[in-house]
């Protein structure tokens, strides 16, 4: 099983600013996934991040709003850009789809 560390665990941000979320895995993995979980709802896939290539975004999510980096096989970041209150959610990273980080609870005010 993989151990996933996600930072920060929570943050309160001003609208118009950006937040970068980090995801560190204790083993090398090919694919990492970023999800959003809006209040009271289930998980929605934002994008898939492969090392050495551009992330693949799902319908409704764009790179300018959610830029992703994947510099190596154990680390990825997701940035939520130009935030608005509608971006208030829990953001989760996942590897192998079976293992999830603890999530980042983001509140935009």
């Amino acid at each position: 099983s993989a151990v996933i560390s996600q930072k920060p665990s929570r943050d309160i941000c001003q609208r118009g600013t950006s937040l970068t979320i980090q995801c560190q895995v204790d083993s090398q993995v090919t694919m990492m996934f970023w999800y959003r979980q809006q209040p009271g709802q289930s998980l929605t896939l934002i994008a898939t991040a492969n090392q050495g290539s551009e992330a693949t975004y799902e319908s409704g999510f764009v790179i300018d709003k959610f830029p992703i980096s994947r510099p190596n096989l154990t680390f990825s970041t997701l940035t939520v850009s130009n935030m608005s209150p509608e971006d208030s959610s829990i953001y989760l990273c996942s590897v192998d789809q079976a293992f999830f980080g603890q999530g980042t609870r983001l509140t935009v005010v």
Binding site: I4, Q6, M31, F33, Q41, S42, L43, T44, L45, T48, E58, L92, Q97, A98, F99, F100, G101, Q102, G103, R105
Partner: protein
Amino acid sequence: EDQVTQSPEALRLQEGESSSLNCSYTVSGLRGLFWYRQDPGKGPEFLFTLYSAGEEKEKERLKATLTKKESFLHITAPKPEDSATYLCAVQASDSWGKFQFGAGTQVVVTP
């Protein structure tokens, strides 16, 4: 389009009162069906993967079964620590790595 529907939305049980959660799905071809447990403020915790109709898996008081159209998560003699939201997700055979999650069933077990 792939769809996953979980029922009921919420379930309140007395300790020891067994019950089942349902996950019905529509997918072009099933690569796998996954069950997770999610506690408040935490990420989903993997429970089971089922790959083919007729398959069953067990873990402590939980048992997952799969048919061609749905999966059941049976909770036998639940305890208060089984209180959580249970999520199911499907992975289609033509979309490796892409999961479709259901909305979840929130289970509360009272002493």
